[in-house]
């Protein structure tokens, strides 16, 4: 068995968890929690929650993809297409 270098494995795990977490947080029943008549500057809390969470997920995705890209270019000689990467 090959021990995958820990930082890469952790990145991959995060890349797996991020979409799942986004899915759970942006669908019922979670979002119905915020379905209350509370308004900030005339904007309902439900919408603030949805858009805020969405933006946070995008930011996390951006950081993650730049880390992954950084790790790939950091390799001195990338293996042949498909070589050695975990899927």
């Amino acid at each position: 068995m090959t021990p995958v270098p820990p930082p890469e494995a952790r990145l991959t795990d995060r890349a797996f968890v991020l979409p799942l977490l986004t899915l759970v947080l942006l669908t019922p029943p979670i979002i119905t929690i915020f379905d209350v008549p509370i308004f900030f500057f005339g904007i309902p809390l439900l919408h603030i929650y949805c858009f805020g969470l969405w933006l946070a997920a995008i930011a996390a995705g951006g950081i993650l993809s730049s880390r992954i890209a950084g790790r790939r270019t950091a390799r001195v000689a990338p293996p042949r297409p498909g070589g050695g990467e975990s899927d």
């Binding site: 008549p37 439900l46 969405w54 933006l55 997920a57 498909g82």
Partner: protein, 922 residues
């Protein structure tokens, strides 16, 4: 005031601009300076996902069902955030297999099956027609809204009947224009990798335009909402609509989940989306950027949906169609220019979708529907014909026209039924039928062709029954009795309450049953059917794409004449490209094509892959099979190869592991080497210092001896010189003794006479022995020695040597004239602590370690008094450390230096020793 001529002129000018951009993009690609090799352009081209349905319809959905409109955007966001697992894998496979369409992808995975490709193509066509119709409808309706708004602001009436079917019908003209565009830029030539750079550049441009148009309307809506204090006519609608807008739709959880799932499936499975994301992808790294940039685009697109909906609800009469708030909100305020910009945005999204969908579909129709049939018709003898590339192009061009005409026909037939979103969702639900087969293709090696076929057909039929039939029944194409009480009066078969599943929202109901049928069919049939050899090998290639899958050539025992292969290739991609491909292949394998009598399995597979890039995997396989002789290996042999491949993989991983270990060892060796070099340098330093130290007394001895022998000196002088010579000789002897002593200590050759020793007694003896030194200099020596609680294991003489060394150092370095030295000995921390403090210059912090090094006297301070060898502290440290103790220096509260020695006791305190508190040794 907007008149028809202005709108048409602007729209035509805009379309002309698109043609120009596409033409320029193609020209740049031809000269090798591609416009689209940028992740940003790639991301914008992905935004073909936002069709006129989302451009106009999102606001409509928001006005009707509030936050639910968001699902259409969050689904793709989730898929793109998870690009590392799904899209990246599809892209990698498609690149290596030269996949041309989603039908090709599925067919290729399940054993390059022509029949599966046909099924997927037919389903995709049926699913795309309503979608194209939807775009045409959006264009013609938005056109009608722009022209007729002044006359009939109450648009509910204006839009119920379709405009007359004439040649000047906006929808028809749009369809023709789009067909021309798709043909010009989608079927210029047969490419080995299906890249249409000009088309992609134009699509990316359109995405910019629609985003800007939408943002402009959004800002305007916010501005208007802020400035109109009195809602006026729409107040009633506003209060009713407001709760729709702000609250989660009542009982809408199921539909919300369904739509999220649908949009997730759609971003992967819609033929046009597959085409633009996967087939037109030129660099896999672009996906990494798109993973967050595309969701950002969607975010911006949806940010102003709610303000526009709110503005529409408050400004427009209650009957106005919310699907066109994007146009009508600016018009209520007389901003016709902005409305025109919005119209162009809508036109952009419609044309982009239709063009890409038409190109994607035409590729599928040509490669997976028409070519397999033509190849099967023996009397056409297609393999022997000259230039087949032209034939392919014509098939595709005709297909594009056919697709658009069918879309137009669908639009004419179904008329104006249903809001935009409803039609779009029907298409999404069809595309979702591909989802199980694709996920299985990527992650489940045991999915079989039979399983995929069954799943697709069952899913599609269930979709047609639960979704299409009710739609048609409502538009009076079917008898309404099929809905209620059910076909032949059987309630269990009601399309909208299948098997008595009542009370479900129709979309969720349809999706549930069709996915259930699809997945069950796929999984169950796969479990009970067998894969043939090609299927098995393709499954391995797809699922293990990141783990060096086996090469396809390994499983074929086939060969063909090189000329025949070349001729076949040339017919599809032209002589020049075929020649180049063969040359590249030969160069890569270090052979010359001319020397090969027969093409081996590897070359045959290479040609088949190239062909697949033009005509699809299934057709390519059929054509190559007609000229290549040979057979697939048996099932067992294939299994052996797969097994072997896995062993090779395991082996190579072991080697990687070994090489990593070797690297680590090499690093350690390098470090050890550096250490050795450092030691070597220290040795050289030591030698040169020793020589220097020896040279000084030797020189003076020689000088004085020479004076004595060569010159006449008085008796008195001679005595003085002899004294000097004698003392220098003694110094030399002492120095040599010390060096020998140190060498013995360092090499561990010193003899140790270890015994239990009372450290306080040794210290007292040392003080007594050095008492003369202090007395001679009239120093003030204070001694406070407490008895040791327990003896230490030590060599008494050596310990004595250490203490004497410390004491004589103190005598040397204490302040001349007013020297004060303090000696303390006391039990401490399970041992015995000795402190010798003087009031000299002290030791600067940076010298604290240094003074224990050889010859490192703190010369800079006590200048002119370099007495001693400079080895005393070094020797002391060796001795103390040999006893397991510690020696160090610190700065006392007053000026001066303090040297401390700590020695461990051997036993816990045992009985009392003689009380020996010595006062002032003077």
């Amino acid at each position: 005031m907007l008149d028809t001529a202005t709108i048409v002129a602007v729209a035509l000018a805009y379309l002309g601009l698109l043609f120009a951009i596409a033409w320029y993009g193609d020209r740049r690609a031809d000269t090798g300076r591609s416009l689209i090799r940028s992740p940003v352009v790639y991301t914008f081209s992905l935004a073909v996902y936002c069709t006129s349905w989302t451009f106009y319809g999102a606001v409509g959905t928001a006005a009707r069902r509030g936050i639910e409109f968001l699902t259409i955007y969050t689904g793709p966001t989730i898929i793109f955030l998870g690009w590392w697992f799904l899209l990246r894998k599809i892209a990698r496979i498609s690149k290596s297999q030269r996949i041309t369409s989603i039908a090709d992808f599925i067919a290729s995975r399940y054993g390059k099956s022509a029949s599966l490709g046909m099924i997927v193509t037919v389903i995709a066509m049926i699913g795309t027609m309503p979608y194209i119709a939807l775009q045409l409808k959006a264009v013609s309706t938005s056109f009608a809204v722009l022209v007729s708004y002044e006359a009939t602001p109450d648009l509910a009436i204006a839009l119920t009947s379709p405009p007359a079917a004439t040649l000047t019908d906006a929808a028809f003209l749009t369809a023709i224009g789009m067909a021309v565009f798709a043909i010009l830029f989608g079927t210029r030539h047969i490419d080995a990798n299906e890249h249409h750079e000009g088309m992609v550049a134009a699509i990316a441009f359109e995405s910019c335009v629609k985003l800007l148009a939408f943002l402009a309307v959004g800002f305007f809506a916010i501005f208007t909402l802020g400035s109109t204090a009195t809602p006026g006519a729409g107040e009633a609608a506003m209060s009713a609509g407001w709760s729709n807008l702000t609250r989660f739709p009542e009982g809408g959880s199921g539909r919300f989940l369904t739509m999220t799932f649908l949009s997730m499936a759609a971003i992967v499975c819609l033929p046009r989306q597959f085409h633009i994301t996967i087939v037109e992808n030129v660099d896999e790294r672009h996906l990494s950027t798109a993973s967050w940039l595309f969701p950002t685009y969607l975010f911006l697109m949806s940010l102003f949906v709610l303000p526009i909906a709110a503005a529409g609800l408050s400004l427009l009469p209650a009957g106005a169609n919310p699907d066109f708030y994007v146009l009508t909100v600016p018009m209520t305020q007389g901003h016709n220019g902005l409305a025109l910009l919005a119209f162009i945005g809508g036109l952009s999204s419609a044309t982009a979708m239709v063009v890409v969908a038409a190109i994607a579909l035409s590729t599928m129709i040509c490669n997976d529907l028409v070519m397999p049939v033509l190849l099967r018709i023996r009397w056409l003898r297609l393999e022997d014909r000259g230039n087949l590339a032209t034939l392919l192009l014509y098939i595709r061009r005709i297909a594009i026209f056919a697709v658009l005409l069918l879309g137009y026909a669908y639009y004419r037939l179904t008329g104006e039924s249903g809001p935009l979103a409803q039609i779009g969702l029907v298409s999404f639900a069809v595309a979702a039928q591909f989802f199980p087969a694709i996920i299985g293709a990527l992650f489940w090696k045991n999915g079989t062709r039979a399983g995929a076929q069954t799943g697709l057909i069952l899913g599609f039929l269930t979709w047609a029954y639960t979704m299409l039939v009710p739609l048609l029944a409502r538009s009076d194409l079917f008898s309404g009795s099929i809905l209620e009480p059910g076909p032949w009066g059987i309630a269990a078969l009601r399309p909208e309450a299948l098997f008595g599943l009542e009370g479900w929202e129709p979309l969720t109901h349809a999706l549930f049953w069709s996915m259930a049928a699809n997945i069950c069919g796929y999984v169950l049939v796969s479990l009970f059917s067998k894969q043939d050899t090609l299927e098995r090998i393709q499954a391995a290639i797809f699922v293990d794409v990141f783990r060096r899958p086996p090469a396809e050539a390994q499983v074929w025992r086939r060969s063909a004449a090189v000329e025949e292969l070349h001729a076949l290739l040339q017919r599809f991609i032209g002589t020049e490209r075929a020649d180049r491909a063969f040359r590249d292949y030969a160069a890569e394998h270090g052979q010359r094509i001319g020397d090969m009598p027969e093409a081996d399995a590897d070359l045959v597979a290479f040609v088949e892959r190239l062909l697949a890039g033009s005509v699809g995997a299934a057709s390519a396989r059929g054509m190559v099979a007609s000229i290549a002789k040979g057979e697939l290996l048996g099932f067992d042999e294939v299994m052996a190869i797969l097994e072997e491949t896995h062993q090779v993989i395991a082996h190579s991983r072991e080697i990687e592991q070994k090489s990593r270990e070797l690297e680590a060892t090499a690093l350690e060796l390098t470090r050890a080497n550096a250490q050795l070099k450092e030691l070597d340098r220290l040795k050289d330093d030591f030698l040169s210092t020793v020589s220097h130290e020896l040279r000084t007394p030797l020189t003076s001895i020689r000088t004085y001896s020479e004076i004595l022998s060569d010159h006449d000196v008085s008796e008195e002088q001679a005595d003085r010189f002899l004294d000097i010579i004698s003392s220098e000789t003694q110094r030399l002897t002492r120095l040599l003794d010390t060096i020998l002593d140190l060498t013995r200590l360092e090499q561990g050759q010193a003899e140790w006479r270890m015994a239990d020793v009372d450290p306080s007694a040794v210290l007292e003896d040392a003080v007594a022995a050095t008492g003369g030194l202090f007395r001679g200099r009239q120093f003030d020596l204070k001694v406070a020695i407490e008895p040791s609680a327990a003896p230490v294991r030590a060599d008494r003489d050596r310990l004595m040597q250490v203490f004497i060394n410390l004491l004589s150092n103190a005598a040397k370095f204490a302040e001349p004239g007013d020297g004060r030295v303090m000696v303390v000995g006391r039990p401490d921390d399970g041992g015995y602590l000795v402190e010798v403090t003087d009031n000299g210059e002290g030791v600067s912090p940076q010298d604290r370690e240094l003074i224990f090094e050889k010859f490192a006297k703190a010369r800079d301070r006590n200048t002119g008094r370099p007495s001693g060898s400079g080895l005393g502290l070094t020797i002391s440290r060796h001795i103390v450390e040999h006893h397991g103790g510690r020696i160090w220096t610190e700065t006392p509260p007053t000026r001066g230096a303090r040297f401390c020695v700590h020695l461990h006791s051997v036993r816990p305190p045992s009985g009392s020793r003689k009380p020996a508190l010595a006062e002032a040794a003077e």
